[in-house]
Symmetry: C2
Subunit: 106 residues, 2 copies
DNA sequence: TCCTTGAATAGACGGATGTCTATGCAGCCG
DNA sequence: CGGCTGCATAGACATCCGTCTATTCAAGGA
């Protein structure tokens, strides 16, 4: 990303992922799910730590899922969510600036 | 970030950076500046490749600058922008999922 | 079967955001 | 000094987005 200009399509797609991460509640949800024992969490575990309503949590989970950052499965009465590490990893390596000449004034 | 839950403050701050990256024009600007010869670019080099007006580019550059992702300096008639690699690097390492147990159904 | 609980959907509403046109400011040059 | 060029600011406007309440759907238990 810092070596050659992004194409219009790549930028559009990438920005979609960043949009999903551009909300404090969603970031905390993602982090909370990832750091849960076993790497997955039931929705009922996720509504407590936040000051927003259950439908709002449900909405944020949907946004994260549609961005390909998490997935879920129903097990009886409960729905469990887990993080898909690939998307996060790809993003991380894209942002890597290792070896790129540091710019500055002058 | 995937090892322990983000605090409310950390999430708020982080989401600010992601917000700045959550726009295709800003992503392309960042990428374009970084990949410019010498690692810096004049604004006049940045308005051409986009379909939006010059004030809109100026607005996006301000957002990126206020997020700590780029900086600028006036040199005579022109203003030059360059990428601050630290912010991007910190973000990249934050998203790293290496060594974290992969979650999944069951 | 009915009721209860866990979770998602629908729709409304206010605030944030991306874009534009018009204007202002800074620096160069004749 | 006057005008021109590069860039930023101001303000308007439409759309998007996060949140809520109300409702619906799914699954289990008495």
């Amino acid at each position: 990303m810092v070596r050659e200009p992004l194409t219009e399509d790549a930028a559009k797609s990438l920005s979609g992922t960043f949009k999903a991460l551009a909300d404090p509640v969603r970031l905390r949800l993602l982090s909370l799910i990832a750091s849960f024992e076993g790497g997955e969490a039931c929705v009922c575990d996720l509504t407590g730590p936040f000051d927003v309503s259950q439908p709002t949590i449900s909405h944020h989970l949907r946004v994260l899922r549609e961005a390909g950052l998490i997935d879920c499965e129903r097990r009886g009465t409960w729905v469990y969510y887990w993080v898909l590490p690939d998307a996060l990893g790809r993003l991380g390596s894209l942002l890597a600036t290792d070896g790129v000449a540091v710019a500055g004034p002058r």
